[in-house]
Symmetry: C2
Amino acid sequence: MSIVVLGTVALDSLKTPNGIKKDLLGGSAAHFSMSARHFSSINLSAVVGYDFPLKHISMFKRKYINIDSLLIKKGKTFRWTGEYKVEDLNTAVTLDTTLGVILDTVPIVNEKQKNINNVFLANYDPDIQLAFLNTLNNPNFVGMDTMNLWIHTKKKSVAKVMKKVNLLILNDAEARDFTGEKNILKAAKSLISFGPKIVIIKKGEHGGLLYSKNYLFALPAYPLDEVIDPTGAGDTFAGGVMGYLAKSKKINAKTLIKAVSYGTIFSSFNVQGFGMEKTMNLSLARIHQRMNIFKQFFKF
Amino acid sequence: MSIVVLGTVALDSLKTPNGIKKDLLGGSAAHFSMSARHFSSINLSAVVGYDFPLKHISMFKRKYINIDSLLIKKGKTFRWTGEYKVEDLNTAVTLDTTLGVILDTVPIVNEKQKNINNVFLANYDPDIQLAFLNTLNNPNFVGMDTMNLWIHTKKKSVAKVMKKVNLLILNDAEARDFTGEKNILKAAKSLISFGPKIVIIKKGEHGGLLYSKNYLFALPAYPLDEVIDPTGAGDTFAGGVMGYLAKSKKINAKTLIKAVSYGTIFSSFNVQGFGMEKTMNLSLARIHQRMNIFKQFFKF
């Protein structure tokens, strides 16, 4: 199955207890694609500047990620500089953001891609998420992510997008911020009332929760004894979930649990290296190897 | 199978966002017994004062919890007063502790109980845990819990007990404090080097992790939309784990996962009411009902 993903393709610079890195390939759409590609054909819609390294373009092509709708514009690529402190490797502190070309460009898709039914609106300005969604012909399974910045500055717009999506994926802090509910399950119930059929709340190293009218699941994270860089873990998770759901074509207890489990496994690899170090060359065999260990946790 | 549990039987007073309660039946051995009794015969070893309400004695008897080794002494029962704040329902703030009779009494067991093989050393002064253990004839499956107070004031004694136990159950903050490792899996690995064959680290609402030379599992907590009072959740969890393991008589992947799952389910009931409100009259049928929902999370 095919998926259209709208999001950012970025250059990330990081300060972490494990080292300092400059201009790593990152961004919500890029991380999403890196896991979703294992299950579905990915059509990436994003915008980068003329400073975007050609090697990344080449990599997307090598990974069969369709970049027909990756706009390459005069100007600077979106750059994010963040820090993770040893006390809390789960939480990024933003040191600098250079919006560059994403400031005045609305990503698009070509005529053929407009017919694709599976859509993921990765973290982006909610007004642009909505405008983008409205250009598609028949988006019948739509997932979305967002972030605190939009919840604080454009909550009404976020709510407008939520009304149109089947699957909302966000983290615990965002769920709490949006709903005002401290309890995660209450927050999930409140989010459902805004429109999405299914809500997944990610809790980083503590796993996640899936809630819908018919389903409730909780899963732990895959236990790791070292986290190198959590940047993109949420997008990588979302890619695993959406990729698997799009491939399996139906939504039921089994496909949802499998989708969330794949998301969990993909993101466990993501955090074990900087940027896409561990996800870029990941084989489905290694994913299944770890998935099999994960499954053993629940054989009772 | 029979279990001897050493621990406290206490009167707890609580201040929570959900209300104020005075002199509720509590204590590590009492909460432990309330879940373990469903699977094993429980022999409670603890000490209370002359002010201990007779209705609780009667209740223990009604629940077939053997209180032959519950010492009733002149003096005051151990009392704990704590507060849970709305910002963090997981963490108790101790407002007052009255040690009373536990200050100068070492709990014992009778000659018959000395032959029981399954022992749980619930949270207690580690020197007393060790002295108690040494009075038993053949303790071949020993579990223990501890708390930050002992890790900070008597770390060497805690380590001495750890050398003699098969199963160590403690929470994430305690694991981090004892080992100095921030990462939970690293902390578990470090704890194993102190002697216990199996380590379970509880993370409250985020579930838990089991680690041993042969096994690694992570489980989420049972998702709840309201937590009333988490006091005793850890002891209730331990009771489910030890009770089930003692009953099943063997340690393998399946029994360990089931044990941890039962612990999870028991503690989910515990936190839904004050003190033992929800665990005292809990039926095995209701436990299995919730267990079946929990199992569905992992059917993939």
